[in-house]
Symmetry: C2
Subunit: 428 residues, 2 copies
């Protein structure tokens, strides 16, 4: 078949030069746009308001959720979308089933098995005219105006996508933006180590491991260099670090032995645990090819996975709400941010204020999911009582507080075996 | 479970500073190392020869294959590994089933379905002591010395992997390194367009498409910008371009309608075909957000896929062998490079010399695979006749030449339909 006979088509798109500005110049929120209703997205833009304006009486109230982790996903799943519109603002359009993430690094599971698109958790964001998933980060909050500032996420896009700024007005705002891996201020961690919290981390680990296996087989390489390339170092002896080390060991025992038989005797795994004191730990410095421990020893590595604890992200640190011990967004027993109206926080980014007398809960998926579920039922109850909109009076009685009951912990240890701890000891 | 009680381990790897040079200084090939046998990889390194030295009498002859495409994979699959060791040097450790690549871009198929690891095609590269897959590129050839220069592939590695240089001696050398997408010298193609020849291209297309769909739903975006973001332009009306456009259309009609209902009316596809004259074509310039056609028209796009024809790669252009019309490595009717001994070329990188009186075959998978099969049977026949080693006398009679018979062409057009052309017209 001659190429030209298959198809010829040419569409004319000639437009003026002004068509190629990537976004409208930003103009301040105008109260005229405030009265616009659900069908007025085009009107908002033409009136000079880049964003979603406040909902009008008679329209559904809008819950804005920041984050798609365990807490945010559970909240959005259970929310009554007959009563609320849901607008989710997050840099990630899927939830990650974190307990199985370590298993994707070596192919025990595929990446798609641990990533659940938000649109399947809460279909309204795809189908409902007033509900959205927006691939963006929140950059600031104005609680009096009930407004957040946002910026689209275009990390890694070469040249064509600058971030767009826009605003979203909320009736209810929920922080569910999680925590961040702690580097303890150790130089070189961010540049040279791979974390294990997202699918792209697991993909990078898998890619690097396979690359090192292939490169180690190149003729002329020194023994020392072969061993360095195939030394996998895992820092952090908690569940993530142990599960990943277990998966890696299985991979070595079964797969490397068969498929990389030339180099199977060189590959080894080291797990480094910093100890119970939770200080800067034993790793003092991280360089491109080796760790330096605090006793001066050097540990050459080809792959470095950093799976220590988590802490408050820079975004959470930047928020001017009162904080819990440990620096998370401070909440009361009803998961509200008590200094303002209509703002809540759940999951790893939140912690009970000291004034509640309750200890900050651990940063666990179980806690986050339970809080998401509780908050959804709270918000759904409010809608039924005729409330939901900003500054509504109908929400004077918050009902029963959130109480966490730990059901147990599990961790895989490789070879399809696991450990289970059913002692209810997590609430300190 | 307290983290510290699960596992504590610390391995001492303290070595001197010299351990951290990433590779041995390269030293020239020494004839002492030449006598080293199959079990002497460590000896080669300690004698200062970074690479695989020539095979000795009594050892298996070594076939070095450059490339893991249709031609190289078929050759390696059929090669008699009882008689030959196979050393494959290529920047890619898998074969890509190219006819289905377009279908992975929108999720009709998964990427893993079109990538076949070389180790499954020819297990000897994993299991046999003298056979290798080396993730590297050939950078030069010395036909008299029967030696190639190589450099490991570490594209994209941030800071820890510089390429290592090494040499490989061959008894038989086969160029199967393929062709490259043609840009016709048009400015901006390499920077802004995505080709569709490798799995990572398909992954990039999928990622960009989904990113644009999400970003187009951001409030405050102009209509114009929404339309630009969701305009997918495909340049090249051959099978690849048409199949990809068909997949994209299916995706729009079925999936975008349901899952991105807010923006379903903005997404559209344009296929641009340059015409039979095969000159620079209608596209004159490619900029980050738009194409310029040669009549001055501007075509704004959010995604640009470049699927025109292929031509000789810079590596092939650099080789000093006589070339065919069109610039491919010149071969005789037995697929040999006739100006030297023990060198062959198959697939898109090869073409009949004018002196054979035969037309250069089209750059098709069918041709490449047939040539790989033929060459394997040629080489296997040689081994049985007692030849195989470099400069062997036993190969005076090359037997029947290679004859290509085209069996037909197929292309999918979306919705699980296809066109088939059974006219035997490909041999011009």
């Amino acid at each position: 078949m001659a190429a030209s006979s298959l198809l010829r088509s040419l569409t004319r798109h000639a437009r003026g030069a002004s068509a190629y500005h990537r976004h409208q110049p930003w103009s301040p929120f105008s109260t005229t746009a405030a009265a616009a209703g659900a069908g007025a997205r085009r009107d908002e833009e033409s009136k000079g308001f880049p964003g979603l304006g406040p909902t009008a009486k008679g329209e559904k109230a809008r819950v804005v959720v920041l984050g798609t982790g365990w807490a945010g996903s559970r909240l959005m799943k259970d929310l009554d979308t007959g009563g609320y519109d849901v607008v989710c603002v997050a840099p990630r359009n899927h939830m990650v089933f974190t307990p199985l993430l370590a298993s994707t690094c070596v192919g025990t599971l595929e990446f798609r098995s641990v990533a659940e698109p938000l649109a399947r958790i809460q279909p309204a964001v795809s189908k409902s005219p007033g509900s959205y998933f927006l691939l963006a980060r929140c950059t600031g909050v104005d609680p009096d105006a009930h407004m957040i500032d946002c910026e689209t996420v275009t990390d890694g896009e070469k040249d064509t996508l600058e971030p767009w700024k826009f605003k979203v007005a909320y009736d209810k705002l929920v922080f569910a933006c999680g925590a961040e891996a702690s580097t303890f201020g150790i130089h070189g961690v961010t540049e040279h180590a791979i974390f294990l919290r997202e699918v792209h981390h697991a993909q990078e680990i898998r890619r690097r491991l396979l690359l090192n296996l292939m490169l180690s087989d190149v003729p002329g390489l020194s023994e020392e260099e072969k061993r360095r390339l195939l030394h996998c170092v895992v820092v952090g002896g908690g569940p993530t670090g142990v599960e990943f080390s277990g998966e890696l060991s299985d991979f070595i025992i079964r797969d490397v032995k068969q498929r990389y038989s030339h180099v199977k005797d060189y590959i080894h795994v080291t797990l480094i645990e910093s100890g119970v004191r939770l200080v800067q730990g034993i790793v003092k410095d991280v360089q491109p090819n080796k760790l330096i421990l605090d006793n001066g020893e050097e540990v050459p590595y080809g792959l470095l996975v950093w799976s220590t604890g988590v802490g408050a992200s820079p975004f959470v640190k930047s928020l001017r709400f009162p904080k819990s011990p440990g620096g998370r967004i401070g909440i009361d027993e009803w998961l509200r941010v008590p200094s303002v109206r209509d703002v809540y926080a759940i999951g790893d980014c939140s912690g009970f204020l000291e004034s509640t007398g309750k200890d900050v809960l651990p940063a666990l998926a179980q806690v986050a999911e339970r809080q998401g579920k509780y908050l959804a039922s709270q918000l759904n109850r409010v809608i039924k009582a005729g409330g939901g909109h900003a500054d509504s009076e109908a929400e004077a009685d918050p009902g029963p507080p959130f109480v966490y009951k730990h059901l147990g912990s599990m961790a895989t240890v490789g070879r399809y075996k696991a450990l289970v701890d059913l002692r209810q000891s997590k609430v300190r």
